[in-house]
């Protein structure tokens, strides 16, 4: 188990390095030079010259990359071109909002997905099952920000039940919760369908497995069978999917945050892109990549803990 964990972490680290290098190197694709991009269109040529020297653009590329890595390791993700604040500070300020949004969205999608998936299993091959099948597929495909806009129109504008903008008052939990409802709904809805399908397929597959029959043949109680034997097997693919899905949830969050003018990583990065504020963009991308890799690696390790067959596969 330990060997597997080390290998898995090593792989993640390697990927992170590749991404960081790519991010840094992308700047050189631009006609013009990195200093202009870092400083933005308002910079004068003296500033650019000074920055070029400071950035070591006259040094060999490898040295530059090494310096960059050094900065990142010290937590310095660069400085915002416009506000001169450290990028990392800005990210950390808004990240919790996005994290909460993503987690709540995934949470409600998981609950609804499990409920609907189990319902489909209980009533399988009936009209209800078919209906749920079509609904799931439909819900998966609708863009989350379109759902967000429609939800906004219905619940915030026409019915005026929920706020249309923002994340609620700081320190005021009820208002924050109310502001979370529509965005979380929009971000999670696609996943309800997907998870329902997955749970249904998983559970059906496991329940027909021979080893469940064995357990019954030994007189185990049905609920022991479901929770100890069935769930442990069925849950494994679900975890993998959830981890990867968190990335897609974060992507949806970017758009939905924009729709609801909700402060978060999404609004931070889109504003930065509009203003060509590359340090903020790059810093955010690196941060989100690292975060996402962390989640996926943790999920993989959890799966390896739960399903011993996985550990052997990687060896081969």
């Amino acid at each position: 188990m330990l060997a597997y964990a080390i290998r898995r972490l090593g792989l993640s680290l390697l990927i992170l390095i590749v991404v960081m290098t790519a991010m840094y190197a992308m700047v050189f694709l631009v006609p013009g030079d990195p200093a202009s991009l870092a400083l933005g269109p308002r910079a004068t040529s003296e500033l650019k010259e000074a920055l070029r020297e400071r950035m070591g653009l006259d040094q060999p590329v490898l040295t530059q990359i090494a310096l960059f890595f050094g900065d990142v390791l010290q937590g310095d993700l660069g400085t915002d071109v416009w506000s001169k604040r450290p990028v990392l500070d800005q990210i950390l300020q808004v990240f919790p909002n996005t994290l909460i949004l993503g987690t709540v969205a995934l949470g409600w999608a998981l609950v609804m997905g499990i409920l609907l998936g189990c319902a489909a299993v209980v009533w399988r091959d009936t009209v209800i099952d078919r209906l749920l099948a079509v609904l799931s597929v439909s819900v998966i495909s609708v863009p989350s920000f379109v759902v967000a806009i429609y939800a906004l129109i219905i619940f915030a504008v026409w019915l005026n039940w929920l706020p249309a903008i923002g994340a609620g008052e700081a320190g005021d939990l009820p208002s924050q919760a109310r502001a979370l409802i529509l965005p979380a709904f929009a971000v999670g809805i696609g996943w309800v369908g997907y998870l329902a399908r997955l749970i249904r397929a998983s559970m059906l597959e496991v329940m027909e497995a021979p080893h469940i029959r064995t357990a019954r043949a030994f007189g185990m109680r049905e609920r022991d069978i479901v929770f100890r034997h069935t769930l442990r097997v069925a849950i494994v693919p679900t975890i993998s999917v959830l981890a990867v899905g968190f990335g897609s949830i974060l992507s949806s969050a970017v758009f939905v945050e924009s729709v609801f003018s909700r402060p978060g990583i999404g609004t931070l990065i889109t504003a930065a892109v509009e203003k060509r504020n590359y340090p903020v963009v790059m810093g955010t991308v690196l941060f989100m990549t690292a975060f996402y890799l962390m989640i996926v690696t943790a999920a993989d390790l959890l799966i390896a803990r739960l399903d011993p067959r996985v550990r052997d596969v990687l060896r081969g």
Partner: protein, 291 residues
């Protein structure tokens, strides 16, 4: 996903007929065909010029003259939507096509070529899929500036890793098949093996994946345009229409409502079609209705 193509079963002619028998696939086919028709025949089908300004007639609600109403600059929404279909499908199909070709090539090379090349390529694929794609897209857009060309490039870069991985897995599985070994024993060159034997058999699942990916790409394009980072206005991308409508939400909600409909229907249509195709082409693996 259990998509290993069975070399003994090449794509069957009866696909069309089988698809028609499945209500969801049929619905998808109809929707996709409608949008395709809209896209191709836009210049003839659209009642008005999509970018013609007529500010006096702004914010008209749907009526006989303007079936979908007008926007804040008096432009006919229906025409904008129809031309938007051309943009959406044009961009998504182009980028997915390029990404597919790229993924196909790289996947074949990774699966069939030397081990070191495979490891390297897999590292690249994994790296590219380890970013939630929106962030990568935004980084590229910052560097290159928003626009249609950038958009296509971004979509290609974001999509091809998953295609390449699928092709690679298929290739790896097939490359060990007995008939490939037999061909090698008879002295067939790599090129022949790749093009005549491997390619036709790995293409099937790729087609399905591409079809399932098109709605995602349409969403991405619309989303980026909505954020003013995609197709530049006044081009009638569905995302642009949505954004403009959002800005005038209180005054004229009909714009936003109307603009969302084609997006929903287009993504639904392609997804249903993709699901239908998958049930038809891979009945053993995903034959269960839910997959």
């Amino acid at each position: 996903m259990s998509f290993v193509a069975d070399p003994a079963q090449p794509l069957r002619r009866g696909i069309g007929r089988a698809l028609l028998r499945d209500p969801m696939g049929l619905a998808g086919l109809v929707l996709v065909a409608t949008f395709l028709a809209m896209a191709v025949f836009a210049p003839w089908v659209a009642p008005y010029d999509p970018i013609a300004l007529n500010v006096k007639e702004k914010f008209l609600t749907p009526s006989a003259l303007h079936w979908a109403g007008t926007d804040h600059l008096g432009r006919d929404l229906l025409s904008r939507i129809i031309w938007g279909a051309r943009l959406a499908l044009g961009i998504s199909m182009t980028s997915v096509g390029i990404a597919g070709a790229l993924g196909l090539m790289l996947g074949l090379v990774a699966g069939y070529g030397p081990r070191w090349l495979d490891s390297l390529l897999v590292l690249v694929f994994d790296s590219m899929s380890s970013l939630p794609m929106i962030f990568f897209a935004l980084a590229v857009i910052t560097v290159l500036g928003p626009g249609t060309a950038t958009l296509i490039l971004v979509i290609v870069l974001v999509s091809f890793p998953s295609y390449a991985r699928l092709i690679r897995t298929q290739t790896l599985t097939l490359a060990g098949a007995d008939y490939i070994l037999a061909e090698k024993a008879m002295g067939a060159g790599a090129g022949r093996i790749i093009f005549i034997h491997l390619l036709p058999n790995v293409v099937g699942p790729l087609v399905i994946l591409i079809c399932m990916d098109i709605p995602v790409v349409i969403m991405l394009e619309a989303g980026l345009s909505y954020l003013n980072l995609g197709v530049k206005p006044p081009s009638p991308s569905w995302g642009n229409i949505l954004a403009e409508g959002y800005n005038s939400l209180r005054q004229a909600p009909h714009v936003v409502i109307v603009a969302g409909i084609p997006l929903v229907l287009a993504t639904l249509g392609f997804t249903f079609l993709g699901e239908g195709l998958r049930d038809v082409l891979d009945p053993r693996g995903a034959g269960r209705r839910w997959g």
